[in-house]
Amino acid sequence: MKNEQEAQLRRRVRELLNRGTVEVLLGYGRGLTGVRPLFVRDPANAEKLIWNEHCNLNLAGYLVREPLKQVMAGARIGLIVKGCDFRAVNVLIQEHQVERQNIYLIGMVCNGIESDSGSGILIKCRGCNVQVPEGTDEVIGNPQELRQIDGDPFEDVRAIMEMSLPERWSFWTSTLSRCIKCYACRQACPLCYCEECITEKSRPQWIEKAPTLSGNLAYHFIRTMHLAGRCVACGECSRACPVDIPVDVLTRFVALTIKERFDYVAGDEPDGKPFLASYCEDDPDDFIK
């Protein structure tokens, strides 16, 4: 079947670069093991962009890293987002890390992302309400061709929470003892942008540097709490992990708790307030004893 959406994307990116609307655009390209980020500066290279059901990567993290961060200081850049990725861009805007006017967002109408292992649509896509990204500078794709993606996007989180406490402890201690502290999860996270991560502070050294179980627990729990109300559940952290630790379950558990208690989804509204900076008189307070 002809990929009309991809053809239209390439056409539009060529135009945007030719007109100078954006200096560089970050989208999806082809790599050895599937999809990888592709920076496009030359309009002729727009042909190398791809769009398909394997475009899982959330590219928003590149906004706060080299080289886009530097480019954005003096020019506008283009970014391809799915509706879910847009949430991460929104959090970065809310937290004053990027300026909306420096980014030209192309939103892709999305029918869900297929898992690379062939197990169907990803869990994170279930119940998606942003298949047509709203609030981007333009949307590419035909909303008429959408099919609804049913199911529970937190099924894996709930499965772990249903374990008994000893089972859960043993699950996390066995998986986290594999962690080699390569920090791929942190570097892949669009919202882990601290210039100096607390794990790297050595004077004083707050947490154990060693990739031992206790050092690993300290790192992952601190990261989880630092993403409270900020995690957009994109799953980049787990996708990046070379030793298959489902680290996103930790941050998504906090996201789920916040959704259930406060009906708040990080990055859902472009001009919304960060969760920890917002207050509402009828917020539940039954946990204060």
Binding site: G29, G31, L32, T33, V35, R36, P37, F39, L57, G61, Y62, R65, E66, P67, T175, R178, I180, K181, C182, Y183, A184, R186, Q187, A188, E195, E196, E200, S202, Q205, E208, K209, A210, P211, T212, E236, R239, A240, P242, V243, D244
Partner: protein, 324 residues
């Protein structure tokens, strides 16, 4: 020729002689090299394990010393090295040990590494299959290459041929009664990925500053995946982890892509992601060549397979030397 089962059934007797055995096993969805008790759990149905032999020779974390201020004493870390058999790692990983040996048992001897290496016999199982990331041939090795192995098992008609490579391997084989074969092995599997290193060293020698460095490192997010899974990367950090009066001094893997790298010596001199990625390429393909006459890359391809953002070292090497 021996059937795999025959070899596996002998492993128990090696353990009985006091050797610890490190071999590939399945852990959840991964195949990892790990110390095994039960030889029946060994899994050889893999291209490459995620981790490398470095994990066992230069572990990701080890205690160098313990200190206690109240008792005013310093004790060296416990020496837990044991006679070890590595069984079922691949030729590229064994070749990587030969590179680490030249670096860590060179002018300066890393005593902990040297002690472990001295007690280790590497029994490689050569590759019957490769994947699209493998490029060992381009680095001067190959799916059946014996470099770094003490004994290598070559696939042959569904079984394996035993080839004794080093004196240590011959000694071990005679101790445990492992007979060598000289029959012909199956042909090596073909590799689809190739990269030429012609002109690379010369280019690196004279292009420390070049706009290409920024372009080739664009996708990199400065994590440590490629470093920590690399069989030859060997940089480490020293960290003290202490309470009020007692503590330990640890050696922990470190990596030049981290912005905190070498801060212990005052600062990270490589400002900018591209400069840190350049260090990785320079260290592997220039500095190590200058120092020991070999590139610090064996073409195992883990950096390509596991990079979350598709950074591809062979593509980068080609881009660096192409068009001046």
């Amino acid at each position: 020729m021996k059937q795999l089962q025959e070899i596996l059934s002998a492993i128990g007797s090696w353990q009985a002689k006091g050797y610890q055995v490190i071999a590939p096993v399945r852990r959840d969805n991964l195949i990892l090299l790990a110390r095994i008790e039960d030889p029946s759990l060994i899994n050889l149905d893999h291209i490459l394990t995620v981790n490398t032999l470095k994990d066992f020779m230069l572990p990701r974390c080890e205690t160098i010393l313990r200190f206690d201020l109240e008792k005013a004493c310093v004790e060296p870390g416990i020496d837990d090295s044991l006679p070890t058999i590595i069984f079922g790692s691949r030729p590229c990983d064994a070749a990587a040990l030969s590179i680490l040996d030249s670096i860590l048992i060179g002018d300066v001897v890393d005593s902990r590494y040297a002690k472990r290496r001295g007690q280790t016999v590497v029994l490689t199982v050569a590759c019957s299959r490769v994947d699209g990331a493998c490029f060992c041939k381009s680095m001067g090795y190959g799916p059946h290459d014996p470099t770094g192995s003490d004994i290598i098992l070559l696939p042959s008609q569904g079984g394996y041929l035993v080839r004794l490579i080093s004196e240590k391997g011959r000694q071990f084989a005679s101790d445990v009664g492992l007979e060598p074969d000289d029959a012909e092995a199956d042909p090596e599997p073909e590799l689809s990925r190739r990269v030429s290193t012609d002109g690379l060293k010369a280019w690196l020698d004279s292009n420390f500053e070049d706009p290409k460095w920024q372009v080739i490192s664009e996708n990199c997010v400065s994590c440590g995946t490629c470093y920590y899974l690399c069989p030859t990367c060997h940089c480490f950090d020293i960290a003290d982890e202490a309470g009020i009066s007692r503590g330990v001094r640890l050696r922990i893997w470190d990596c030049c892509s981290f912005s905190s790298f070498t801060k212990m010596a005052s600062h990270q001199p490589r400002v900018g992601k591209y400069a840190r990625y350049r260090q990785r390429v320079m260290h592997k393909f220039k500095y190590t060549v200058d120092n020991i006459g070999k590139v610090a890359c064996v073409g195992d391809g883990r950096c390509i397979r596991y990079c979350p953002y598709g950074v591809d070292i062979t593509e980068i090497l080609k881009a660096l030397v192409s068009g001046g």
